[in-house]
Structure formats: structure tokens, C-alpha cells
Symmetry: C2
Subunit: 229 residues, 2 copies
DNA sequence: ACCCCTTAGTGTACCGGCTACACTATCACT
DNA sequence: AGTGATAGTGTAGCCGGTACACTAAGGGGT
């Protein structure tokens, strides 16, 4: 079967930068390419957009096919289309970012991908296409997001300690924060629910576990409140 | 001539949201469509991406062809690709925004466009395709930009008074600012050069004219300084 | 049982930037 | 000379951000 058009058409692909957080490290989901071009190289999960397929649907489909991961929220990052970025011919890619809770999201390779793995952001291999550039943009966006929106909660388990949250934010921003000020700030935001539960089995004083009050955040947001760490 | 592909390919277009500022009003450049679909309706300038053409090049080309406008800087806004947004078939558009100084940029209709005009943002007609949605996104982006980057200077003439600048910022943000605080803030930023020249021919005390010190801004930016109004 | 190690959890004082606010100076025009 | 309109200027209070150090609690080892 073939498709005929009056004018030449560039191809359209989607790619996903999926972040996870584990063992105090920020990680990115990559696949090892199972076919040409760049066979054997690591790349962002992604693939060709289907006919009459919506962009976010295509991202979810490719992610599921290639890695088994199904993120809740997608955010569009941008589009890349410089001629030459894909040796197969002129290709425009629309990139998305997502955050997932790593517990329960063990990546497994599937169709089209020889392997899928979570790489620490500080130890990334060279990437196929211009995916390195896309990752740089995603990293910048993530840093901006972590200070202006409560994104940490999408990366952490449902229940978490304040120290875990602070360590995550520090990891993403790349700079240390003052413990008391961080806690004071979060308490003043009124978006964390203390559960009365505590860590267990830790060789030290156990930390109380909190839950993110998304309803409260949505309410405050609607009233014009601007989150900022 | 025709082009054959093994798989179906959505079409790719580019669109531009170009802002100008005149007579204390923020304006957007629109074209009247000269052909189907939506013939006679107003739309964002834009068109199909050429083979092996880079995205920004395509935007500039279409802008020039349709309106005669040639902006200095383009910023990518995002991509829209929901099936059904274009009655001709599945089409992905990559939208860009730009700011121009309106003095000397009289829009004139050209190829493909029956007419091209600057519309005040508060009196926009209904737009073709999903261009209304794209404009909403552009407006949000502009508001964010005006407080975090010195964008006002791209919309104003080379020489401007502090009152002109303040009025522009107020217009974009949609809220009034305190005169003394605004001036104090800008002076502390150290990015405005007083020229010693003054308005002429105004029926009131003449205001001093300033010039934006882009070199200083670039220098401060590089040192990690964050502009904020 | 006691000690030790590790991390949880807590308050205050200073500083700087943001806000609110009103009057005099200057110019064109009549 | 008078009028109308806008340029241009300083200060005091408030709030939020920052810097900073000790006690509390629990597990593990001796």
C-alpha cells in the first residue's frame, strides 16, 4: 500500500522525555534502538505519528509499545525539525515530557526497542538523532517547573517525608536548600496533609509522612495563587 | 508531479502570531484567507512547510509572502495537531510568536492572502481553524514574557519615554502599575540609557527619551541575573 | 541497660525589596 | 499671564526571604 500527495511531506514523529526519581537520583527513560538508523544507540522513546492520531495519543502509544510505561500527565516541550536531523529524510518531531513514580514502573523493552532503561541524568550515554538537544531543553523546563509548580509530588510516592521532598527538589534544582526555611515555606502553603503515619524500619528517628493536597492546590491556583519554591 | 510514501503522512504547516504596538494598543497581524478552506475568514499568517526547509525559515518565508513583515526574533510557541483541526486532512502546525516595531511595518497583503491587517487584541474577529486557541496560548506566553524578559523594547521605537514603556507593560499585563515604583525599578536595573533628548511638539512638559542597553542586559543575563517586573 | 549514631523537628532576628502614597516642575497653548 | 496636562521625584511601613544551632527520638551495637 502506498500514499500519494501532490506536494512532498516531511514525516512527523513524537518523542517523550520521561523522568523518574529513585535512590535520590533523577532518571530518564531511554530505549536502545532495535533498527536503523542508529541501531544499537540509545534514544528517546517515540515514533511516527499515525494518520488522524492526536499527538498525545501517539506519545502514549509509543511509550507503551516501547517501554510499558504509562504516565499520567504529558506536557508538550517543543518541536524540532532542522533538515538533516534524521538521516531517513526531513522529519519533524514533537517532544513531550512526563513525570512518573518509579515504584511499579519497571521499564521493559518491547516492540521496536531492543532494551529500555532508566538512566541517571548525570550519566547519560550519547543519544541518537538530536535527542541530546531535546533532553537539554527538557532539563531546563523541569528546573523551571519544579520551582513554579508542585511537580515533585508526581515523582514521589503517595506518602513521603519532608526530607524526601526536599532532597528531590535539591536534586532537580542542583542546589542545596535550608531545611527550616523549606519546611516553613511548605507549611505556609497549606498544601501538605500530615498523615500521622511515620516511616518504619529506619535506623534513626522516624519521619512523619505527608500527602499532597491536590484539591487545595487546584483551588488556590484557580484563585490566582502562584506556587513558588 | 506527485510524491509517494509507504505510510500516510500528516501535512505540516507553520503559523505566526506577530504582535505590534501602536496608539497604546497591542495588535496582532492577521490575514484574510484568499482560498479554501475558510475563504474570506481571518487567520494567522502561515502555510505549508517546504521539503528540507527549517521551521523558522518557513515562518519567515510565509510571513514575507503573505504580509511583507520580517520580524527579528522568532520564538516557538507550540504545536497543534488534533485530527479535524484542518478540514483538508490531518495537519500538524508549529506556531511561532514574534514582536515587531510597528513604525515602518505597514502590513500589505500579498500572495495567498486577500488582505493583511493589524487587529487590536481586544477586538479580534473569529478565526479560521483552531487559530483562536493558538492566539490564547500566545497571549499567555506574552504576559509571562513581559515580566521575565525585557520584551517591551522590541515593541517600542529605539527611543522611548518611561511613560510609553510603562503604558505598554500595563497594556500587556492588563493591570496598572505605580509610576514611581516602576521608574525606581527600571533605574535600579541599570539597563536604560538616558539620551538627554526629549519629546518635541507635545502640549505638556516633554519627557526624556531613553534607549535600551541590550549589551548590558546580555552581560547581566550571562551572570545569572533574572529580569523581573 | 546503656551508649552512640543518625536524622527529625523546631524559632528568631536581620535585611532587602515591594508597596502605598502626593506634590512640584515644565511645557504648549490660549 | 493663566490653564491644562503630564514629567519627575522620596520616604516610611510591611512582608517575605535568609541565615543560623540545638534538642528529640529511634535503632543498633556493646
Amino acid at each position: 500500500m502506498s500514499f500519494v500527495y501532490e506536494y512532498p511531506r516531511p514525516a512527523v514523529t513524537v518523542d517523550a522525555v520521561v523522568y523518574g526519581y529513585q535512590a535520590e537520583e533523577l532518571r530518564v527513560l531511554l530505549i536502545e534502538r532495535g533498527g536503523p538508523p542508529f541501531r544499537g544507540a540509545w534514544a528517546l522513546p517515540g515514533g511516527f505519528l499515525g494518520e488522524n492520531e492526536d499527538l498525545p495519543d501517539a506519545v502514549r502509544r509509543e511509550l507503551l509499545e516501547e517501554t510499558g510505561v504509562a504516565p499520567l500527565h504529558l506536557e508538550q516541550l517543543g518541536s524540532w525539525g532542522t533538515p538533516g536531523r534524521d538521516p531517513r529524510g526531513h522529519t519533524i518531531t514533537v517532544a513531550y515530557t512526563a513525570l512518573v513514580r518509579l515504584s511499579g514502573h519497571t521499564a521493559k523493552a518491547d516492540t521496536d526497542a531492543a532494551d529500555a532503561r532508566w538512566f541517571p541524568v548525570d550519566g547519560l550515554p550519547d543519544l541518537a538523532f538530536d535527542h541530546g538537544e531535546i533532553l537539554d531543553a527538557a532539563r531546563e523546563r523541569l528546573i523551571e517547573s519544579v520551582r513554579t509548580r508542585p511537580v515533585g509530588f508526581d515523582l514521589l510516592p503517595d506518602l513521603f517525608s519532608l526530607t524526601e521532598l526536599q532532597t528531590l527538589v535539591e536534586t532537580v534544582m542542583g542546589e542545596p536548600l535550608d531545611k527550616r526555611n523549606f519546611r516553613k515555606k511548605l507549611q505556609s502553603l497549606d498544601m501538605l496533609i500530615p498523615t500521622g503515619e511515620y516511616e518504619s524500619g529506619v535506623p534513626r528517628r522516624a519521619a512523619q509522612l505527608y500527602r499532597f493536597d491536590r484539591a487545595m492546590y487546584d483551588k488556590l491556583s484557580a484563585e490566582g495563587f502562584q506556587f513558588r519554591l
